[in-house]
Amino acid sequence: MTENIAPTSASIGAKILLLLVILLSFVVVVLLVWPVGPAAPTWMGPFQGDLRHFTAVLAPFLVIGFVGGLIGVAELVSTFKTYPREALLTRWAWVLIFANVFAAIAALLILRATTSPMSFLMEFLIVAFGFQGIIRTRFVLAKQVGSDKDGEVAVNLGWLYDQFSNLARRQIDLELMNNRRTAVTRLLQYYPTLAELYDIALYTITARETLTSEEEQEKLDALEKLIDPKAPEHFAKTSIALMILENGGQSYVNLLLDQAMNQPDTAVLATAAAPPARQDTLIRRLVEEYDLDGLVALTNQLTDDEATQNYVREAAKPNPAISQAEQKATIAHFLIQQIGADTLNRVMDTASS
């Protein structure tokens, strides 16, 4: 599987983390590990003093920035409940998180510039809770009785943040939409039958550990509605593929696609119930290349077992209630079970050559 959701965003995050680790290690090494003694260079003492002072100045901003980032992450996770991991991997998610980090740092700077000195705990409470709350709150000063938002007199102190946040969320949603569409299309490409998709969706729902019985039942009922005979086939397949993605997540879909791509002979591994893809091909060959009498003759040629011969003979008798394709498909499935796919493949290959 070569598809990656947002390699640039992920690598930016990793680089920033690495840079922070290096900076922190540098501070720890210089302040704690490096001894200041007679053997130390003369500049070491003042340098350590400067670094200590710099760290003391920087630390509150780092803490406030970290909290701002965490609030940004929490906002995204609560907005994109179905795909939190995928949402966090998008480019705009990082833009929104860093906007929160810088906004929190800017709030602390403004607070320090405009008020008299106070303890860091007070600053932390004001910026981490007060400021974050204010930019996400709309104060309604007056409200017309019985009216909706149009009749309100309100002050939205976080209007700018609202606009930016809405833009980011819209962009993330569009990016996720593209990824979802790609995942669904690929699932349909590698798992083309309704039976395969249905079984995978069923397995995906029942295998989830965190669902309550009610949630699981709700999802199973939704799945059953999707295979309703009235639903068009393509709609049913697309909806079930989307359901697999929503319940299993992008990584699970990637795993399914990896399995299907790397092991084309045994495409369906998500559930042991589904038949290998090559059996479908064999059944189609048997249905297309033999008539009913031919299948009876083939059975008699391949086995002496009377029960098997009798079943095939009875199944091949003309029956106006069903189509010949149904009769032949039943016999083909039956022969694969009783005689084996390898033997049948060999016999058919010999006959056609």
Partner: protein, 85 residues
């Protein structure tokens, strides 16, 4: 859980058990699994579909053009639990 006004024969129970354990499949595959003749299978599945035990729908990818799956209520009925597989 829905109560079924339908008494299942041994063969019908066998069909439901097959669908509960093997997942959705074509009617021809169910017939082959259970040694039921294709004509009898079609009639049986139509009756079971009317009674709400199975969903029977068209499937262009299936060799016989049909797909059959056990309903959630019937799965609960077979397993003795509500919808648990």
């Amino acid at each position: 859980m829905k109560r079924f006004q339908f008494e299942l024969t041994d063969t019908e129970t066998k069909v439901l058990n097959t669908l509960a354990s093997r997942g959705a499949m074509s009617p021809s595959q169910v017939a082959a699994e259970t040694w039921i003749l294709p004509g009898d299978m079609r009639t049986m599945l139509q009756e079971m579909s009317s009674a709400g035990f199975v969903v029977l729908r068209e499937d262009s990818n299936s060799p016989d053009g049909w797909l059959v799956a056990i309903t959630n209520n019937a799965r609960g009925f077979v397993n003795g639990s509500n919808g648990k597989r």
